[in-house]
């Protein structure tokens, strides 16, 4: 059975490493749901977080294949143990005048922040897990939105 997995990959921070990792997914027909990458505190290394839908066997194979890449130091499937996952989402809304209050209330309840206001639009930001983000999206949908972006997940294991 295919499920969503979050894979955390520690790599050396050098040119071409991301393509090696991404090539491995595309070359073997695995789909990437989301992808984030940034240097760690030690800038010699970067952390890549990839979410992908696959069977357990496929994930094991992906992890082993990733490990085979020379610049890859560590690969963990964070879905195995408890992990803390967060994602940042920005939604730009152009509400009708009468809806503005409701939007602000939704933001308050879901923990979203209004990070920008123009004469016509509000931009909300939420940093949360998948469940809360989905909740916000469902609540906002009826009012329509102008633009939407999500960062892709970052995750850390709890232990």
């Amino acid at each position: 059975m295919s499920t969503l997995h979050t894979i955390s990959i520690l790599v050396t921070n050098e040119a071409g490493v991301l393509s090696r990792v991404v090539d491995l997914f595309s070359g073997r027909g695995y789909n990437i749901e989301s992808l984030t990458v940034a240097p760690t505190i030690d800038r010699n290394y970067s952390k890549i977080t990839i979410t992908t839908v696959a069977t357990q066997e496929a994930i094991e194979q992906i992890c082993k294949q990733l490990h085979r890449l020379i610049p890859v130091l560590k690969v963990s499937d964070l879905s195995v143990n408890e992990a803390i996952e967060r994602e940042i989402v920005m939604i730009k809304i152009q509400p009708k005048d009468e809806d503005a209050d409701k939007i602000l209330r939704i933001a308050e309840v879901t923990g979203a922040k209004v990070i920008d206001i123009t004469d016509k639009t509000y931009t909300l930001q939420i940093v949360d897990d998948e469940k809360q983000i989905q909740a916000l999206i469902e609540l906002i949908k009826p009012y329509g939105y102008k633009d939407f972006v999500r960062s892709g997940k970052v995750a850390l294991s709890r232990s």
Partner: protein
């Protein structure tokens, strides 16, 4: 005192020297002229000028396969680099160590679509073990050191180093690093002791065990350990195509090759085994047949240095990640440390059962009175075996016949493209083999299709006095594809009838020797004449067009659905 400075081209040569490289295969071009200039002024490294860059890589692989040392190739940018791709993929698939140096346009031109620019690092990313673009001459020596280390350790493979022109002319001090520091690369050599004990327990208790010996045993130089363990535990041994020579085929316990065109009894032994002990094999579909039906009723122990190979295709009960030599030695040591018992009676019964299966042999059928390809290959084997030849093959029917008929008691004598199945591999690989072992009798058994893919290398052989005896099994067809068309596509021989030049005249045009054989009684005299010749030879064996390779397990069928002859009989 200021350190002496060297150009990138000089550093390249000094690094090769430090690695003990004395022979390389290559082809010059614009952006690597500086290296060729440096080569001109020295005599420590011998360069073999090939006629096509693909052949340089295959030759380097042939060299690596025979010598056990990494093969080195040097080509220019753009088309030169692109031409190496098939060779690199071939070495990657079969796991042989190569270091391939490609020229690149100057760093400031990269990405500008400059003349003869190709993103070879991007192109080869998925078909090599690792690759580098050298951006600073100061990194060159370290990168070369790393490349040789990566190519030759763990599961060996090809490493590509792309060197821009300006890096080759820039200067730096030279100090060849003594050590390699790669935090992300630590191959596991030592098998887990607990897993080894578990595996031994299972093997001791097994009633119907079988060993599958693959190319990893050859790579690790573990053939003696494998042989010893097989004898200690009274286990029969089947080998994969790449594992040929890892277990003496003259031994009674040898089952020969298994798989699609493997021995009937080897496949049956694997199907009926209670424990399969697989060492250094990837469980390619050509040896497992229908995966769902493979090892359904047996426990599988799998030793491989590459964790990716384990449980990729076949679900494994006892995985052991490690080097075959290391793991097998540990097993022998543990076995020898205390007395152990095995069920001799069960083993005897099992070997007797296998002996019964051995009665079922594919009988070669030649549909006309023309010369039979099987007969030719059989005769080549019988006649040349006393001379311990290195046998290279191309890909197709002749390759399978060779794998079936040639028997080897030692590794590194049978050179064939297994994983990628590259037509055109054999001749240049044979050339590389001839460089690696200058006294050996080197045969390249080829089809009339395959040989035409890299036939130009005859010129290289003539230039350097490399002697390869090309035995062309000329049946006028791309035989293996034709065989599939005969059985599976209603004899619609779509684009498989293929013409060839007059190989005798062609050989003569190159200054080589050409011999044509159309009759059985001429096979041995031709071989004799070829062996006496002081240059490379083409023997054009004009054979029957429609011979088939049997036994044959059709793709996707389980291993025990073996076709033994043309009349569709399924055993």
């Amino acid at each position: 005192m200021a350190k002496e400075m060297f150009t990138g081209a000089q550093i390249f040569l000094k690094s090769l020297e430090a690695e003990g490289v004395d022979e390389i295969f290559g082809y010059p071009g614009g952006v690597i002229l500086n290296i060729y200039e440096a080569l001109y002024n020295q005599d420590k490294i011998k360069h073999y000028l090939v006629r096509h860059e693909q052949a340089a890589i295959h030759a380097a692989e042939g060299y690596a396969r025979v010598s056990g040392r990494p093969g080195v190739a040097l080509v220019t940018s753009g088309p030169g680099a692109c031409n190496t791709v098939t060779g690199i993929a071939n070495a990657y698939y079969d796991g042989y160590p190569l270091v391939v140096f490609t020229g690149q346009v100057s760093t400031e031109q990269i990405g500008n679509d400059a003349f003869q620019e190709a993103d070879i690092v991007g192109i080869t990313r998925s078909c090599c073990k690792h690759n580098y673009l050298v951006k600073d001459v100061k990194d060159l020596a370290r990168i070369i050191k790393e490349a040789f280390y990566i190519a030759t350790t763990g599961k060996p493979g090809p490493v590509v180093i792309d060197m821009p022109k300006d890096v080759l002319t820039a200067k730096a001090a030279f100090e060849y690093p003594k050590e390699v520091k790669l935090v992300g690369y630590n191959p596991t050599y030592k098998g887990h002791p607990l897993q080894i004990s578990k595996a031994l327990k299972l093997l001791r208790e097994a009633q119907r065990p079988v060993i599958i010996s693959g190319g990893g045993v050859l790579q690790a130089g573990a053939h003696q350990e494998l042989t010893k363990l097989a004898q200690l535990l009274e286990m029969p041994v089947a080998h994969t195509l790449m594992g040929k020579g890892t277990y003496p085929e003259s031994s009674l316990q040898s089952l020969g090759m298994l798989g699609m065109h493997g021995n009937y009894w080897a496949n049956f032994a694997v199907v009926h085994a209670d424990v399969i002990f697989a060492v250094g094999t990837r469980f390619n579909d050509r040896i497992t047949g229908c995966l769902k039906r493979f090892a359904r009723d047996s426990q599988v122990i799998h030793v491989d240095i590459d964790p990716c190979s384990i449980s990729k295709n076949v679900k494994v009960d006892i995985p052991i990640v490690g080097d075959a030599k290391n793991v097998l030695s540990a097993m022998i040591k543990e076995l020898s440390s205390k007395p152990f018992t095995i069920d001799h009676e069960a083993k005897e019964k099992w070997l007797k059962q296998i002996d019964e299966w051995k009665q079922k042999r594919a009988i070669p059928e030649c549909p006309s009175d023309k010369l039979s390809a099987v007969k030719v290959i059989e005769t080549i084997y019988e006649y040349t075996k006393a001379f311990k030849p290195i046998v290279c093959t191309e890909v197709g029917q002749h390759q399978m016949w060779c794998a079936q008929m040639f028997k080897f008691d030692e590794p590194r004598r049978f050179i064939t493209s297994g994983g990628l199945g590259t037509m055109g591999f054999g001749f240049p690989a044979a050339m590389g083999a001839a460089v690696a072992d200058k006294n050996a009798l080197v045969l390249n058994i080829a089809g009339d299709g395959s040989i035409q893919m890299n036939i130009q290398e005859l010129a290289t052989c003539m230039d350097y006095g490399l002697k390869v005896i090309n035995c062309v099994i000329n049946n006028g067809y791309l035989g293996m594809v034709r065989q599939w068309q005969e059985k599976l596509f209603n004899k619609h021989y779509s684009e498989t009838k293929i013409s060839a030049p007059d190989f005798v005249k062609l050989a003569q045009a190159y200054g080589a020797k050409g011999i044509r054989v159309e009759k059985e009684e001429d096979i041995i005299p031709a071989l004799k004449e070829a062996m006496e010749s002081n240059c490379s030879v083409f023997i054009d064996f004009v054979v029957e067009n429609f011979e088939m390779v049997y036994p044959w397990v059709l793709a996707g069928q389980p291993l025990n659905k073996v076709l033994l002859s043309n009349d569709q009989k399924v055993c």
